[in-house]
């Protein structure tokens, strides 16, 4: 499905390093390449420190690469854009606004007329099944509801890309399963490109068409795994199991490697302190 098309998002030798006064240069992401195609659902997974959040922040324009470039639709990403909305783990709802007003905020930024905005916001709310909660403030909503509102706010402005930075990590297991299904359901209606960061391997297999496995020290792209399973996927299915096993094995390698490097680093430090 990917052949013969130009990528929607391209990382060309893109890398990011920080300079700290105490440790000198710290490489959050080693220069690497990644292509994501229009309408693709890509999951970024990897152990902590692998730079997956850095990658999504670079693509969303919240951060700038220190080397190489990030292109979307062939143009360099210089700042965030309403055509590409980020969904955060802690929702990013404005606590002083009702659910409806939170969604209206996004539309107001886009200059949508009042009546049109109201119509679209209500439609977006009903799309996530929260019509009855329009006048509630975020503190009156559960975590799952808050994330649904954030999702509705994003979808109301009809972006072509959705960045999701561990969006369901703070939710309980049941709510997480529900939201995963709802996300796939919403995507059926409009084939939006989704980049989804998670540390939950099973979530990645359930959602992604492709999984990009990342490795730490320094953060880098390690492996691409295409999940060639139709939606909706069945977690008890043997094909699902096959991919889960494949991903867990690949992750295990990365994890062990990371552990080995950390151990070596600690030994070097200990030797150093002995002198």
């Amino acid at each position: 499905m990917v052949n013969g098309r130009t990528p929607k998002i391209r990382l060309l030798n893109a890398g990011k390093s920080f300079h700290t006064s105490s440790e000198g240069a710290h490489v959050a992401l080693a220069a690497g390449n990644l292509d994501i195609y229009e309408g693709e659902f890509v999951c970024l997974v990897g152990p902590s420190g692998c730079g997956k959040s850095t990658v999504i922040n670079l693509m969303a324009g919240f951060e700038q690469p220190t080397e190489g470039s990030v292109l979307i639709d062939g143009k360099p990403v210089l700042k965030p854009d309403p055509d590409r909305i980020m969904i955060f783990q802690d929702y990013g709802l404005f606590p002083w606004k009702t659910a409806l007003d939170n969604i209206l905020f996004g539309l107001k930024c886009r200059g949508v007329s009042k009546t049109e905005a109201k119509k679209r916001a209500l439609a977006a709310l009903s799309g996530v099944g929260l019509s009855a909660w329009a006048q509630r403030h975020p503190h009156e909503l559960s975590g799952g509801m808050k994330q649904r509102v954030a999702l509705a706010r994003a979808l109301a402005v009809e972006p072509s890309v959705l960045f999701m930075d561990e969006p369901f990590a703070a939710l309980d297991a049941f709510t997480r399963l529900h939201l995963q299904e709802e996300l796939l359901e919403l995507r059926k209606k409009r084939k939006i490109t989704i980049i989804f960061v998670t540390h939950d391997l099973e979530e990645a297999v359930y959602l992604g068409e492709r999984i990009v496995l990342m490795a730490p020290n320094p953060g880098r792209f390690e492996n691409n795994i295409t999940i060639d399973l139709p939606y909706p996927r069945d977690r008890t299915d043997k094909h699902f199991d096959h991919y889960r096993k494949k991903l867990f094995e690949a992750f295990d390698l990365v994890h062990k490697e990371a552990g080995r490097i950390r151990k070596e680093a600690e030994e070097i430090q200990e030797d150093g302190s002995g002198i």
Partner: protein, 254 residues
């Protein structure tokens, strides 16, 4: 039900106990030296009859509202600005920290020299007392707005005016309210000082005037009234604060 009884019964009992202790303590002295509650209430009635009480209360409250309003209109815009402009805050912070520990009462000689005796020195001193708590609370309220709010606004392409009116002001509002609450208390305390020193009317002046005539009952009457009015003002702003906090979702659903 038991909760309600406790809420009203306990404070009433405490006030009653306070009055009893006061009466008992005062019974050991002459009323001229240490008047008991009955003498003080008589003095209040006397002041009401003379028509003086309402006049002094109105004057004090007017001065207070003028000074407090000026402080609000100066401190909040300045605080919003300094909260957003890091380098401006760095530049101005030493001056603020230098002026802040100076008691507003220390300004009194200059205030009288500049403005003469009357309303203005009292207003000036109340202003000085209210200004810094408001300013510092506003600055810290703006600075503690979570970065995610700006990130979201930025992502949706919000214009600077919308970020200011739609994000910064409402996000900082509860923090600013806390500052207004604190400032109300300190300003009210300094109202008496301001009127004792630089005015010839108002509750502070009532106290100093009573001293000149050795009317200890009126001194205590003045003190009691300052306390009661302060309590009422505090109650008023607490209710305002609760309404806002409820809407902003602070302290949960209560």
């Amino acid at each position: 039900m038991a909760e309600k009884i406790q809420k009203f019964l306990l404070p009433t009992l405490a006030v009653g106990l306070f009055l009893m202790i006061w009466q008992y303590a005062a019974s050991h002295y002459t009323p001229e030296l240490f008047p008991g509650p009955t003498h003080v209430f008589q003095a209040i009635l006397e002041l009401i009859k003379e028509g003086r009480l309402w006049k002094d209360i109105t004057i004090s409250l007017t001065r207070f509202s003028i000074a407090y309003s000026i402080a609000v209109t100066c401190a909040i815009p300045l605080g919003l600005f300094l909260g957003r402009c890091r380098s401006c805050l760095r530049a101005i912070d030493p001056v603020v920290q230098l002026l802040r520990p100076i008691s507003p009462i220390a300004w009194f000689p200059l205030a009288v020299l500049w403005f003469g005796i009357g309303n203005t020195p009292a207003i000036f001193i109340i202003f000085m007392a209210a200004f810094f708590p408001m300013l510092l609370a506003t600055i810290s309220a703006v600075r503690s707005i979570p970065a995610i709010n700006y990130k979201v606004a930025n992502n949706f392409g919000a214009k600077p005016a919308l970020v200011f009116l739609g994000i910064i002001i409402p996000a900082a509002f509860p923090g600013i309210m806390t500052g207004l609450h604190i400032a109300l208390g300190t300003a009210w305390i300094h109202l008496v000082a301001g009127e004792m020193l630089g005015a010839d009317s108002g509750l502070g002046y009532l106290i100093i005037d009573a001293r000149n005539f050795l009317r200890t009952d009126q001194i205590m009457a003045g003190m009691l009234l300052v306390g009661i009015l302060g309590l009422l003002l505090n109650k008023l702003i607490t209710i305002g604060e609760q309404v806002i906090n409820k809407q902003w979702g602070i302290n949960g659903q209560r």
